[in-house]
């Protein structure tokens, strides 16, 4: 399998805070990578760098045939091209509150990609159907539950036809009973062959859906492998400690 995503030597500091200290990772096309690690370890910053929401100080990111070297201060156009390769789903959905659900999904293809409205609309409705929300098309985000909002966020990200889907703790702001519906949509996407990088603490999702699990701590990837390797037989002590805290918090 060829790698769709390849990250090498990614560094990022916020002021004196050296947050990413050389991240290397590869994600084969059509596979699911789950990123776990303690709070503050840099997971969000990694995802945001892939999407150029954060401009890394050093390192390269390649998605498909689009490659950006952050060491050479990439220009705006290069960053925009990189950004267009991935769809981002945020922890807090960040839906556009003044637009209907349908318009939220249509906005990117219609306004940015300037594709014909009828076609965009039809595609958006198909996407909403896929996340089980076709009947909510004309509602506004505030009228939906947290789980539904997150599913609209997924549809909106899919609408720009990215090659890679990024999820930053998509269920951690949800009430427990709403987590399942979002994970189910993500599981379907994985089954359809989407390449996904997911930051989550839903270990059952990681076990069932992930092809690869990365454990991050202190701005580096401490350990990576199959879910069984990393989650059940972690080699590194830091991984063991983290998993212990996660499985047995009290």
């Amino acid at each position: 399998m060829t790698d769709l995503l390849e990250v090498a030597g990614l560094h990022k500091s916020f002021g004196a805070n050296h947050v990413l200290r050389g991240i290397d990772l590869t994600v084969p096309a059509g596979s699911v990578t789950v990123l776990v690690g303690p709070s503050g370890s840099g997971k969000t910053t990694v995802l945001r760098s892939l999407n150029a929401l954060e401009i890394a100080d050093q390192g390269t990111v390649r998605i498909g045939d689009v490659s950006v070297d952050f060491g050479t201060k990439p220009d705006r156009r290069a960053l925009r091209t990189l950004r267009a390769q991935s769809g981002m789903v945020f922890q807090s959905h960040n839906l556009f509150p003044h637009l209907s659900v349908l318009r939220n999904v249509m906005e990117g293809p219609l306004v940015v990609q300037k594709r014909p409205a009828a076609e965009v609309r039809a595609e958006a409705l198909t996407l909403l159907e896929r996340v089980g929300l076709a009947d909510k098309a004309e509602q506004y985000p505030y009228q939906l539950s947290g789980g539904q909002q997150q599913r609209v966020g997924i549809a909106r990200a899919l609408a720009i036809k990215p090659r890679l889907m990024l999820f930053d703790e998509p269920t951690s702001a949800l009430d427990p009973e709403l987590v399942g519906e979002v994970l189910a949509v993500m599981k379907d996407l994985a089954a359809e062959g989407w390449t996904m990088v997911v930051v989550t603490h839903e270990m059952r999702f990681a076990r069932r859906v992930a092809d690869q699990v990365l454990f991050m701590d202190g701005g580096v990837v401490v350990e990576h492998g199959t879910p069984a390797q990393v989650l059940d037989q972690p080699e590194q002590e830091r991984t063991q400690r983290f998993l212990h805290r996660l499985n047995d918090p009290i």
């Binding site: 556009f96 509150p97 906005e107 940015v112 505030y142 720009i160």
Partner: protein, 222 residues
């Protein structure tokens, strides 16, 4: 109220209405629309990461807010001619009020833009939007909800402030009242009538404000 006062009030209604319709209202409307456009430009300049641009905007706002409107009006009407630019009363007033609205509304618009959460900018950029598109499609529509109440106050203040134009001989409501009062010395009566005119206009505007706010609130949970 004696008969002559009633007569005076009756005979003043025509000229005051004319002053309102030909003077106060268009002066307000023109200055407000142009002022808002100016304010948007100043607000965006103020938010610019390029410091000379934001410094110019900041200086403009500071001067407008730090000097009396009457002085601004006099400088444009009496002061500019000494520099060789003579401007008629009506356009002078339009310019002064436009600049004034521009200064005050710029801060309102800036604060409203800043009130839109960062996540909205980020979400817009993940669907591929650049700065101008994000501003136009995502940020300004949301900022308008925040800006409408204070901007309505600016408009209502402007309606009343345009009465200052009477001092540079613009024949608006206040000027008409003064002209009618001068020969009869019935200043109290005529200024009371003028006050009612302004009050009615402001009542109508407050009503419109409420309607607009309700409309803009349709997409947030109540």
């Amino acid at each position: 109220m004696d008969e002559s006062t009633v007569e005076l009030i009756k005979s003043s209604l025509g000229p005051l209405t004319e002053g309102m319709i030909k003077g106060t209202l268009p002066l307000t409307a023109i200055s407000f629309v142009l002022g808002l456009a100016l304010a948007l430009v100043v607000a965006l300049m103020r938010l610019s990461p390029f410091w000379p641009v934001s410094a110019i905007a900041r200086a403009f706002v500071s001067v407008i807010r730090g000097t009396p409107l009457l002085v601004q009006l006099f400088i444009i009407f009496y002061g500019l001619p000494s520099l060789g630019a003579t401007i008629d009363p009506y356009p002078s007033a339009c310019i002064a009020f436009t600049l004034n609205v521009g200064g005050y509304a710029a801060e309102i618009i800036r604060a409203a833009i800043l009130s839109v959460p960062r996540g909205q900018w980020e979400a817009a950029s993940t669907v591929g939007m650049d700065y101008p598109t994000t501003m136009r499609r995502i940020v300004l529509p949301q900022a308008s909800r925040v800006a409408v109440p204070p901007l309505s106050n600016t408009l209502i203040s402007l309606v009343k402030d345009t009465s200052l134009a009477s001092t540079i001989l613009v024949s608006e409501t206040m000027r008409k009242a003064a002209e009618l009062a001068a020969p009869t010395f019935e200043f109290f009566t005529l200024y009371m009538v003028a006050a009612v005119y302004y009050w009615v206009v402001c009542l109508v505007l407050s009503f419109a404000q409420t309607r607009l706010e309700t409309r803009l609130d349709r997409y947030v949970a109540s």
